[in-house]
Amino acid sequence: MRWDGPQIDESPSPHFSVGPFNDGGSFEQEMVSQTEFLSWVRMFLHSDDKTHTSQTGLVFRLRDKEDRLVRETRFNQVLGPRVEPVTWRFDPVKTSVGRTFSLQVVVEHSETDVYALASLSNPLPGSIVTNGDRAGAHVDLVLVPGRNINSRLILEAISDNVTGGLGSIMAYFVAIPLIFSWGMITLTGSVSRRLCLCFGLLAFGVALFAAWSGLFLLRNEASPESGRFFWAILTLVPGGLAISPWIIFLHLLMRRENFVRLLLEKKPHSTAMTCATILTGLAALLMGLSSVEAVPWQAFHWDYMNPVQGRIEVVDYTTVKIMALMALVGWVLWGLIEVVRFVYESPSSE
């Protein structure tokens, strides 16, 4: 699985060519990364070589805002009178959205003059610099940045767009089967372990398929992870499946006798309490695996009296918070069930 697509939805309109660039000539342009990874840039060049046979040596340099060299490559390209897209691919640069780079292209050797397409619609910051001369602010190189990332980087890109990161994604893929199988058990009244496993695997498979579908269908989009459609595919289908038994269950609950029977026989309060205690334990464990929070003041103002905490920083706060909130919800749910039991349960049930 790879995501390969431009960072921008539409290429800027070309208006004219800048040049000519001979041996040693160069052009530069600032650009802004629109997504998290930058792994190629595409520009549009042509030359006076009507035979379309000679090799033009080009040097590509990518610098960051602090003028540090990020990537550099040399390669030869056959150019002719017709405008051709020239794509420079490089190892993905881990960037944050909005980070500014400067692209420099040097014509190392060329038998004829080389030209680059430029736009007047000012799609990029700054302006094109040709052979050291800066053009007007509205004149930019026609440039398309893009990214081509593998599965690991896709996961990283997605994680960085989720509150709680990878922990949340994992929690999601654990929660969906749990919620679904719990709902099916509650609905059917079966406590067979094999059936539980089947339900869980089914929901897990659906969640995986939904995720894969989203990743695959949008693989050539500019930035799927920041679009609503991608997240809708990822969450709505598995989420709908997970809560479906609960919806049916709630429908059945509308009949009071069913409700009372459920309270007496299925013991949802016991299940809720078990889940809540486990989630609480996990939240406390994760808290131990996160760093100590910064607070505006400390308990004791002399150093040796602030005792050792022994916390290991491998989990971020958001993951802990999500787990803690899930536990809190679990406890509230348990409390509500207890209240309902208190109201509905008949004394004869004791």
């Binding site: 609480t280 406390a284 308990a299 802990v320 809190l328 406890w331 209240v339």
Partner: protein, 626 residues
Amino acid sequence: MSWISNKTSFTSGTLVVLFIAAFLYRYASLISGKNVPWYGDYDPGYSDWWIWGARILAFEANPVAVEMRTEGLLYVPLLAIFIKIFGFATAMHYWGYMLAAISAFLPVVAAVTVQRASGGLIGAVLVGILVTVDPVLAQFGLNGWPDSLTIFVAGITLFGFVLVIRLPTFKRLLFLGACLSVLTLSHATWIWAGFGWALVAWLVVALPAIRQYAIQNEASLYRVNGWLMGGLPLAVWVTTMITAGGALTLLGIDSGKGLGAALAGDSLPVMDLAVQFGMNRDAAESSVVNSAQKILIDLPARLPEKTWSFINGQLARSTPFYAWILTSMAFSAVFIAYVNRNPISTRKPLLWGAAIPIALAIVVLQPSTLGSITVLVTVITLISVLVVLPISRILIAAYLPYAGTIIVFSGLSIQQRHSILLVYLLYVLLGVCLGSACIAIFRSHVLTRISASINMRQLTNAIVSVMLSWLLIMGLIGTVSATLQKQQEQNYLRWLGTLMPENALLVTAPNVDPWEVRDLTGRTVIYDVGLRSIVIPVSGDGWFDKIEVMAPSATSPRTLINSIHREGREIWGYFPREDNKDSFSRTSVNSHGHTALVKVLRVAAYPIDESRAAIRIGQVVDDGHV
């Protein structure tokens, strides 16, 4: 006392070893000068106030520091008795040993409390270890403040309360009433919290259903004579308060320091809290009633924020391994819920039990509290323990009046250090959780499924032995290390005495034994306790609480030091933790409410350890610090 323990000799032996190990810990801390009863480094000069009050009472029969509305009502007379019997310097040393013994007894009390509440020895010993090694409890145990007495009596009271929960007999109720009375008198600024605990005790005794849930494994519940008997602790408490107040009146103590003043409380923190809640200071100071009204109206909305501040800034910071303690409690709750799943799931629903998580969720679902994972995890762990372990509800309910007072007024009238009472409760809850979880696991035969040869009693004893051995070894290492260090310091002081001129004065750091310094150097000691410098003359039992006696005409540290120098007397320094540092070039001297920075001169290298030197105090560099 058959109602305290009739368990096996192993349990008794465990508690004895726990006491010895804890005493070694405290003793090491005492002789190394880390925590001593004549100096408290959290609030420098605070110990000296109580020492001064006890001296005045012992030598001049002046009860100026004996007052019910503060903390000295019991502590000062007790210290005064020591001083009267043994003389001042000897009394302070004996007092230190006594505090070490008392504070070493606290881990035993905590362990017995947990053992009685949960029936488990592993949790009990773990809590004993935690109470022993907790740095704040160690400091509290030896720092010479009335708080050391308060935390000890609070521990005993909790133990008495657990006994009452289990089996509320007449003797136990009487014992609890006496403990509550002593606890209140030891820190009478919290008189209403003591009253609240007595009320909770009444409810617990009067409503057997509460106890029935708390002690699920009790074979039979002894029921005392209903409502009337449940009020016995409160009756003892009220009688003691009236008696103490009357005694103070008979002794001619100022009426502003008696029972009435204690009951009225301190108006200053009430006004400060009202101002903190947005009231105009002039309006707050003009009427305490208006301030109280403002607090009552605003407190519900402010309570989450206060709770956030307390948990995140205080409780989680002053408790070692806080997150791991919560983790242990939470997973203990998982085990208890799992093993007891059938009895719990079929029990009758309790509305008030269900209200616990809902109420806590309402408290925690505030922007201020949601921002902190520490607060969130603390709250859900608390919910988990409260739901799964019914006895925890009663223990927390008993502490609620104290907890509420500390949370609301912490940082105003109540200094943050008092949160140690709640840290102690946290340890006890951890022990009860862990003990109950161990028992639940053992009874569920989960371990025997792994191996049929596992003997639960032997396993428990082995775990307990390992834990205690570790504590004992650490205590021994600490004591030996502190003793060797003390011998080195004694040699250094003898050498220093040979260098100093006969009429020289010696300024010391606070964490030392100033009488020993005086005896080994043979010079008058200026003992710097932070806010002031105390003079200990070269001979006699003197303790002049102001260095100003050395030069009555002086008006600042600079003129004081210059005056002493003009008399031809040199001032030397003894700073055991500083004088081997090359960067040590300045120190401070306190007088007239100011702190002066003075230049330090290295006179001669110490032959045995050349990194150390004999220090002489030079010119004042800066005396502008108030």
